[in-house]
Symmetry: C2
Subunit: 353 residues, 2 copies
Amino acid sequence: MKKESEELVGVKEIARRANVSIATVDRVLHDRPGVSLKTKEKIQQIIKELNYQPNIVARTLASRKKLKFAIIIPASSEETSYWKAPLDGVLQAEQELRQYGISVEKYLFDQNNRKTFVKQSATLLQQKPDGILLAPMFVEESNQFMQQCREQSIPVVFINSDLPGQSGLAYFGPDLYQSGYLSAHLISYLVRPSDSILMLHITRELEMDHHLLRKEEGFRAYWQQQGYTHELITLHIGQTDTETIRHHISRQLKNSSIRVLFVTNSRVAAVAKVLEELDRTDLLLIGYDFLEDSIAYLKKNVIDFLICQKPQEQAYLGMMALYDKLVLNQPVKSVHFMPIDIITRENHLFYNN
Amino acid sequence: MKKESEELVGVKEIARRANVSIATVDRVLHDRPGVSLKTKEKIQQIIKELNYQPNIVARTLASRKKLKFAIIIPASSEETSYWKAPLDGVLQAEQELRQYGISVEKYLFDQNNRKTFVKQSATLLQQKPDGILLAPMFVEESNQFMQQCREQSIPVVFINSDLPGQSGLAYFGPDLYQSGYLSAHLISYLVRPSDSILMLHITRELEMDHHLLRKEEGFRAYWQQQGYTHELITLHIGQTDTETIRHHISRQLKNSSIRVLFVTNSRVAAVAKVLEELDRTDLLLIGYDFLEDSIAYLKKNVIDFLICQKPQEQAYLGMMALYDKLVLNQPVKSVHFMPIDIITRENHLFYNN
DNA sequence: GATAATTTCGTGTACGTACCCGAATATAAG
DNA sequence: CTTATATTCGGGTACGTACACGAAATTATC
């Protein structure tokens, strides 16, 4: 009963009740000028009373304005195909949003070269998009970029990592600290009191250390809270080639008490390769991200666990947040931590990246 | 360039090219009678050439038909609040689908009383819904229900468990076998060679054994493949009250080699309660589902892992599958296994049920 | 070959909202 | 009080599709 009446209210009914035309109601709805204060208030009153909900379908159809979104994220490289997943998420969102007259322009940069980011971000801004999805890999450059976006009042959504102190529209990504904390818990089940743990940060870009160190923090926090006394070796490897990694690892493994290797990013596949070559697949190996290479090693039991945080969904939801904000005019929650998923040999087939 | 031209094609353009009216194109699009074979083929040809994509927004707005969906699932009970999550998923879908003129009627039954299912399903069918979401708890009764749906050609989507041999539109739920298999893997990390494992099926309804036994199958398969020789005790508890559970468990725990308890459904919280009372929180406890009670014990470290398969999403996606099929006329994949999520003390905060 | 029955097709309106354009009214300027 | 200017409003069309209704063309019937 009540529902019925609620369903049927449209601008027409409001106009009838207020003794005005549809156009005037529309002006009030969109806060456009040309309405006297008196009638405006009367109409707003009626809108409230009827609990009017605009028909999004009709609105979309009638609306002429074609929005333009832009994304700027790292390109998927030979080094890691991680960024393929977020791009897929963007593509999926684009597919769905096309219906609503939204186009998406894509700008990719090299995550090992901050100049490419600066260049791409400049070209992006020339296109004057209505909303931006940003993976802020380079803190300083991203901050400058944000400054310009603010001047042009373009809303920006962050994915993958946050930009502290910046007022983006929203953040979709992992809680890095908790992620490390969880890894520690997982590993605590796997080690015997006398075992040592080798934590590996494998990255060329010092910039990224911010990520990895945050994970390490979480890890150490757990370890300390539990009062564990296992030997915990941290190693930073600045080169990502197999050679270098093997060199470092085989040296470390002379310490025979090492039983668990924890790689703080997607380079875990490279470590797996080395372990396989060294015939040390008996060691427990834990790393990040649902990449093809890693999955292969997961299947072969070289990698034991992968931790993953839905990279595709991060991007997809980020795009949708822009849509919610700019089209539906809905409020958007500013922080969305992704689930921390644990992938094993058994459940990987069912994982939706 | 190419995109532009693709965007702009509508029925109007097709009609122009075919030298017919919009209405005729519409008839072909909907395969309605009243078009000569010759013109029909010509129009279909043009549609293909232009790769015409109907404008869903306009279609929805113009379409008068109001679809009615119905769901029939167990009610959330004091015994387990599991079914609250699927209902939430339904509610969320309802919210989104309301825009498109779709209403949802909800029929809940008592999962301990098959007569309530029969009764509710009969009332449901009288409403002649256009699509149905079904949790087929009672195999025989569900089969009969499906028979009627088939006669009335109403598409049915299954959630939570499949109905083997029935031709539903789709299934959204766990792969029970793999779920048990994964649990086994997880547990294999936790046990020492001399430990015993206690597997608990706690349920009043024999019917449900189908679920639980399938999980046990998966579990045993892993154990056998690995050649493990741990003692594996299986116990079926037919009462769900704490009293009975405590009785059984304390008796089993006289076997001091038991170190891991694996509860094959959401009743794990009851076991946790017992373990806490018996002051045996040192034991490892693994169970199913993301319920409030269980989470509390997870936080207190009484429960170590929960395995969860997105009950809310099952229902949500199931509803959307009906929409895809009936409104968008899109093909629907017939089996959708949910991810097998592992919940711990650390990641539970970020889990989206 | 005329009429009836049937098939095939086009015209026009509706869905609910956006927004252009010009009319009506109110206010200011002379 | 007239004319000019600004303000406030309503009529009407468009968005792309669905579908009722009736007109035209075809085929069947005698």
